[in-house]
């Protein structure tokens, strides 16, 4: 990655950020930026050498943009983005669309009969279902299966994937450097013209995906813990959504969701690799530039109300016992978050306080970690400890040890050495992150959609200013019982 050399190309918007005097190294992160007239942002990090380009698109939409009734739709929509457009996935658009409309009409009748009524007519449902199956068969001759995927693959696309998180949805491919135009064509096409063929069978796929998670020991309990913690905000549900909502989501919901969020002014494209920025800009103008701007998206409104008293949960299942403690913290960008991040670094890792005391000195646990998760709108600071069952220790026995460590920090703070170690680790891991083009694209793209990609550098600068006193203060402010949820999971009956 050509981050040290600064070559000024007389082209496009050129942005250069010098990172003051970092304690450990001088690193410059050079991102070229271009904004299209429709509001879409293009970020570029040229990295000459191997002739490949990581091409990512991120939309500012995730499960927090859902509401009860359509939980899981952001992720289902991500799946549906592979199901074709007017141009892709179909041999005769009109003929296919005619059948698709009939399927939708029948499915609407079925859903109404099934989900709107107490005792729907089972015979009617079965008849309509049969008609749907016939139509699906008839539609097959017009469908080009997984056309977009195949087109990327036969052009040497790797890292081909998509993912949905609470806040962001990303679409990924890495192509030979002479074929970036293919990504521009296909991604701009599906941003404008997504057409949700095979919607109902894809819902089945997503329900199987949820079942896979359910069979992961601890998943169902953790889902409940999260729901109890984020009682008010849309972080309440997981990205996969509730099974009942997945069953009932309609094609209409999907189209409405698409229109609202899949617009150029709600997206950023990131390119990392062997290319000339002026060529990327020219292609982006042509392909993404043709898409009309959409209506601005309002940030989500609902936050988490204060708890007022401690919450406790107990669960059993077929997994490894553990103790979790969750505390509410402010979101990303709040002045306290940097200190909380440093504190999680001091507590975690093999040389962190929790492992040193709980695992090594007291010998009551086999794993112990802490994590600050500020997120975009509401944050959490979590502790997770696995008891040493061989010594007869139970998860709930560990709670007092965690509180002891918390109280020590509130009272005595942390050492200068601990503080510097946590800072060094964060800075070095930031630099390490620059080695992988894919990881770099991900960080830049996600950060851009929240506080702008420069926030990554601002946070690194702020990190250096954190003092032992700041750590004491945030520990005292957030690690209190009425801000805490304790969750105890033991091996036993149940899922």
């Amino acid at each position: 990655m050509n981050l040290r050399k600064v070559a000024l190309l007389g082209l496009g918007c050129f942005l250069l950020l010098a990172l003051g005097s970092m304690a450990i190294a001088q690193v410059k992160l050079e991102v070229k930026e271009h904004v299209l007239a429709n509001g879409m942002k293009i970020l570029m990090i040229p990295k000459p050498g191997v002739p490949r380009v990581v091409c990512h698109i991120y939309y500012k939409v995730g499960s927090i943009n859902e509401r009860p009734g359509i939980t899981g739709i952001a992720h289902l929509h991500e799946h549906m983005m592979f199901k074709g457009t007017r141009m892709m996935g179909v041999t005769d658009f009109e003929a296919d669309a005619a059948i698709d409309r009939q399927i939708d009409e029948l499915m609407e009748k079925i859903y109404r009969e099934k989900y709107w009524k107490q005792n729907g007519d089972q015979q009617k449902i079965a008849d309509w279902q049969k008609q749907v199956e016939e139509l699906v068969k008839a539609q097959k001759k017009y469908i080009i299966k997984d056309h977009l995927w195949e087109t990327y693959m036969k052009n040497g696309g790797t890292g081909l994937n998509a993912s949905t998180s609470d806040e962001v949805t990303g679409y990924y491919v890495t192509l030979p450097s002479n074929k970036v135009e293919l990504q521009m064509l296909l991604e701009s096409d599906r941003m404008m013209n997504a057409y949700f063929r095979e919607f109902y069978s894809e819902k089945d796929v997503v329900m199987e995906e949820r079942r896979l998670s359910e069979n992961n020991p601890g998943f169902l309990f953790n889902e409940q813990v999260r729901a109890a913690f984020y009682v008010g905000s849309p972080y309440h549900w997981q990205v996969i959504g509730w099974m009942d909502d997945l069953r009932r989501i309609t094609k209409k919901d999907m189209i409405e969701f698409n229109r609202k969020y899949y617009i150029p002014n709600n997206a950023v494209a990131v390119y990392v690799g062997d290319f000339k920025p002026e060529e990327i800009i020219q292609m982006a103008e042509k392909y993404f530039g043709r898409i009309p701007r959409g209506e601005d998206v309002e940030p989500i409104r609902t936050s988490v109300p204060p708890q007022y008293s401690e919450k406790r949960m107990y669960g059993q299942g077929p997994g490894m016992p553990n103790l979790q403690m969750w505390f509410h913290i402010p979101p990303d960008g709040h002045p306290d978050v940097t200190a909380l991040n440093v504190l999680s670094g001091i507590l975690s890792g093999e040389t962190g306080r929790l492992t040193r005391v709980l695992v090594q000195e007291k010998d009551v646990a086999v794993r112990a970690m802490a994590m600050a998760r500020p997120q975009w709108y509401v944050g959490a600071f979590t502790f997770n400890v696995v008891p040493k069952m061989q010594k007869g220790i139970k998860p709930e026995d560990l709670e007092k040890y965690v509180w002891e460590e918390i109280e020590k920090i509130k009272k005595d703070g942390v050492t200068a050495e601990e503080l510097q170690k946590a800072k060094n680790r964060t800075e070095a891991s930031f630099i390490r992150g620059l080695e992988s083009p894919m990881f770099l694209a991900m960080r830049i793209g996600r950060a851009e959609l929240n506080r702008g990609w420069r926030a990554l550098l601002i946070d690194l600068e702020d990190l250096k200013k954190v003092t032992a006193d700041d750590i004491k203060k945030v520990a005292a402010r957030y690690f209190v019982k009425e801000n805490c949820l304790v969750a105890v999971y033991t091996r036993g009956q149940g899922r």
């Binding site: 190294a25 141009m87 079942r211 069979n215 042509k286 060094n424 964060t426």
Partner: protein
């Protein structure tokens, strides 16, 4: 308060007026030609003091250094009564300290420098990897070679690792995919060093002396290849490493003989009961080694069958058409010196387990009976050709790949001949290898799931599952004792 210096240069986009032609289909796009020569292993290879071999590449864009030692040893050479030694050693090589440093000192120092240091014992190779900022290279190398050459395996590190391994063992039957992978291997390879499982008793019996003796036997310069990439001068790095290598004596070593005979399991259904809402399925038999001359043809064939994700037949049929699964396809796995496995896989709700398996078997059958289409061939071949440069995206991984080729005695022109070997695969060859390496009469169909609903099936494939072959009900062992639980 230090301010970030932000320099913004806005310039008009005037020099780029050449128009890109409007297209309505991806096939109409015209791409400029692309030239790419893969890096040549010989230009990175050096032999240092005492025959220590290394692949070294300067890469000065970031102030980081990555270095990996690949040691020619692994769990395969651990005797049965010492099962678990490999995992214990993975945990203790660093944490157990050296003659002059405690494990805690090492970990604290690496963490303080913002570096990473990891060790793991694999099947036949073990790796120690470090990443440090280039300003810390000297100190990092000191620690790296100290850990590699002089580990002490202090008792406190063993105690910690044993404790963790035993808690982990308690969970060994919790996760259905973990159970399926382990039991599938056990049926295909039988009682063999490749499938031996540690128990509480074997782990508790292991001592620092056992680890020291394993280390003493295998860790010496001629049995190791280094890989390094990053911000250093190649010549200087060689000198630095030589300081350690000159003081490091070689030994004579003969590897324990390991048999290559595997049982012929009775074909049919192997069912493992677990009260979950899906069946986790593997369908297959032993496969091939990656040194097999048919390797490339097998890769292309499997890409079309079920390895090319959505472009492959099994994924398209089972996932996309039928909505039966999130995760389905087929794979050939490879292991150094032994045949790997071939399997189709799917996880689907209990009632559609039989149906999904029948669809996978149908695809196995089809690819053995009819030639694949031109379009399928084109997609598969082009995928391998066009994505080739991806192998070399990461400088350290490239060096590690070269080191592994040499360590395993594979041809060093593997990458130089790669494209030609892919191009040589044709439809006839695909049909030939499908017939040769997919063997319907040997299929082990393993299911981890809830027997009653799986056995009942659904409209499209009503049960019982013995329609797919004789049903063997397998019992899981108690992972702590290795004995049957009643």
């Amino acid at each position: 308060m230090k301010r970030l210096a932000i320099l913004v240069l806005l310039l008009v986009l005037s020099s780029f007026s050449l128009a890109i032609a409007q297209v309505s289909k991806p096939e109409e796009l015209k791409f400029p030609p692309l030239k790419f020569e893969p890096p040549n292993p010989a230009s990175f290879r050096v032999v240092l003091a005492n025959g220590l071999r290394a692949y070294i590449r300067e890469e000065r864009a970031l102030p980081m250094v990555n270095i990996t030692a690949i040691i020619n040893t692994g769990k395969l050479y651990v005797p049965k009564e010492k099962a678990g030694l490999g995992d214990l050693m993975s945990e203790c090589l660093i944490k157990g300290g050296t003659r002059t440093r405690t494990g805690q000192q090492i970990e604290e120092r690496i963490d303080f420098l913002g570096g990473t240091l990891n060790f793991s014992v694999g099947e036949r190779t073990s790796t120690l990897s470090m990443s440090v900022l280039s300003k810390d290279l000297d100190e990092g190398l000191d620690i790296f070679f100290d850990v590699l050459m002089n580990p002490e395996f202090r008792e406190d590190s063993l105690k910690l690792a044993r404790g963790r391994m035993i808690e982990q063992m308690r969970s060994a039957n919790d996760n259905p995919s973990q159970v399926l992978n382990r039991e599938f291997q056990k049926v295909l390879y039988g009682e063999h060093p490749l499938t031996i499982q540690a128990t509480r008793a074997t782990v508790e019996s292991l001592t620092p002396a056992d680890l020291k003796s394993f280390h003493g036997k295998y860790f010496f310069p001629k049995n190791i290849i280094l890989a390094a990439a990053g911000d250093f001068s190649r010549e200087q790095l060689k000198n630095k490493i030589n300081k350690y290598a000159t003081k490091w004596a070689n030994k004579s070593l003969s590897f324990p003989a390991v048999g290559k005979k595997f049982p012929e399991p009775e074909p049919g259904v192997y069912f493992i009961q677990k009260k979950i809402n899906q069946g986790y399925v593997s369908v297959g038999h032993l496969g091939i080694e990656d040194t097999n001359p048919d390797y490339f043809a097998v890769q292309v064939m499997n890409f079309i069958l079920g390895g090319g994700s959505f472009t492959s037949r099994i994924t398209s049929k089972v996932r996309s058409d039928e909505g039966l699964a999130y995760n389905t396809g087929s794979r050939f796995t490879y292991r150094w010196g032994f045949p790997g496995t071939f399997s189709g896989y799917v996880q689907t709700k209990s009632e559609t387990v039989g149906y999904a398996i029948s669809l996978i078997l149908k695809e196995f059958d089809r690819i053995r009976k009819e030639p694949v289409s031109e379009a399928e061939m084109e997609t598969a071949i082009n995928y391998y050709l066009e994505s080739f440069a991806d192998f070399f995206q990461s400088p350290i991984n490239t060096m590690v790949n070269f080191a592994n080729l040499e360590l395993q005695g594979k041809p060093m022109n593997y990458y130089a001949t790669y494209l030609d070997k892919v191009k040589a695969v044709n439809k006839d060859k695909v049909l030939e290898v499908a017939r040769k390496y997919i063997q319907p009469d040997k299929m082990v169909i393993m299911i981890v799931g809830d027997f009653e609903p799986c056995n009942k099936g659904s409209d499209k494939f009503p049960g019982p599952v013995d329609k797919l072959g004789k049903v063997h009900r397998l019992k899981l062992l108690d992972p702590l004792t290795g004995q049957l639980v009643e």
